[in-house]
């Protein structure tokens, strides 16, 4: 793999940030939270995936790659922005569902791209696990239809929680644990 993919992802990320900054003055905070959440997840589940054929500088730890992280973060930022733009007055849960649908569809394409480019591979155990699974477009295992929303729901939850917790308004008081009576 040449370096074009990595540089393309970096440029795309810069472009997305430049565009979204116009409608969201806290976009850098959202970007940082999304990077952190995706990295947490990727680090924790790294034995399940192989990120191969990237430039050596694209890797952080073992095969955890910050370029792959940026790909997922771009998808998250754009999906959240589209949800907020298309449903500006909708209730928060409707925006969440809408964002999840967008992310699932675009996430399947992204996974397809990773597999096609040879960036994504699965360890032998996972291959056996997925062997009987139907593949979307003959490439993406059908279980990704469950994995992508599952993993993205946790990431979006992390980003939104911290946006609320760091917000200066009264919204952060609405974050409940076991306490609220």
């Amino acid at each position: 793999m040449q370096w074009e993919f990595e540089v393309g992802v970096i440029l795309l990320t810069l472009l997305i940030l430049a565009v979204l900054r116009k409608s969201n003055d806290k976009i850098y905070r959202r970007f940082g939270l999304a990077v952190l959440a995706v990295l947490l997840f990727e680090y924790f589940t790294h034995p399940l995936w192989i990120n191969a054929n990237l430039q050596p500088w694209a890797y952080i730890y073992l095969d955890v790659s910050w370029i792959i992280t940026l790909c997922w973060v771009d998808l998250i930022l754009v999906s959240m922005a589209i949800g907020e733009h298309m449903l500006p007055k909708a209730k928060e849960w409707k925006k969440f569902i809408f964002t999840m649908v967008l992310i699932t569809i675009s996430g399947l394409y992204l996974e397809w791209l990773f597999l096609r480019l040879g960036i994504r591979e699965y360890p032998e155990v996972i291959q056996e696990y997925l062997a009987a699974s139907f593949r979307i477009g003959n490439v993406v295992p059908i279980v990704e239809l469950l994995y992508i929303p599952t993993f993205m729901a946790l990431i979006i939850g992390f980003v939104k929680y911290w946006e609320l917790a760091l917000g200066s308004g009264s919204k952060n008081k609405k974050l409940v644990g076991g306490k609220e009576k």
């Binding site: 589940t45 034995p47 939850g157």
Partner: protein
């Protein structure tokens, strides 16, 4: 088998007791909170399922592959207990600071329990995960040293998801 059955009964009883306690103390939406927390933990267990081995449970305890609702329920009890302790002891602390205390309390609760589960044989690590471990253990336990940072990593995601979904329900 007998020990595992006791563990299963304990996990169920502990969660039920917590639920009854919160109900009796007038907490709002208690059942909803337990269900959201159960779902939050289940999401993570589903994602990371190939990394763990939960063995020896009764057949009725398994949901899918080796995901057991007993372990999920155990996690629900641990998380909810943590929320109760921290929210009570640090009631005036802002959410963004309390979050870090949740992580500390969870770590303190989870490590000895994980150690007990590993010793009892019901909890194991699949080769795909075991191959990435350094082999060092947390002193006085059989828990891999990697748990020191792995526990806060995954509990962070679960806490945030749980709290955010609760927030969505409150604002619907």
């Amino acid at each position: 088998m007998g020990g595992i059955l006791i563990f299963e009964i304990f996990a169920i009883a502990f969660t039920v007791l917590l639920w009854v306690f919160m109900k009796s103390k007038g907490y709002k939406n208690v059942t909803r909170k337990f269900l959201i927390l159960f779902f939050s933990v289940l999401l993570f267990e589903f994602m990371s399922e190939p990394m763990w081995a939960n063995t020896g449970f009764q057949k009725w305890a398994y949901i899918w592959q080796d995901i057991t609702w007993i372990i999920t329920l155990g996690w629900v009890g641990i998380f909810m207990l943590t929320f109760l302790i921290v929210d009570y002891a640090f009631r005036t602390t802002p959410e963004k600071k309390k979050f870090w205390i949740y992580l500390l309390v969870l770590e303190a609760i989870v490590v000895p329990i994980e150690s007990g589960l590993i010793i009892s044989g019901v909890r194991g690590y699949a080769p795909i995960l075991a191959d990435t471990l350094s082999g060092y253990m947390i002193p006085l336990t059989v828990v891999p040293i990697e748990a020191v940072y792995a526990v806060p990593l995954f509990t962070s995601l679960i806490i945030c998801f749980y709290k955010y979904i609760n927030y969505l329900f409150d604002r619907r």
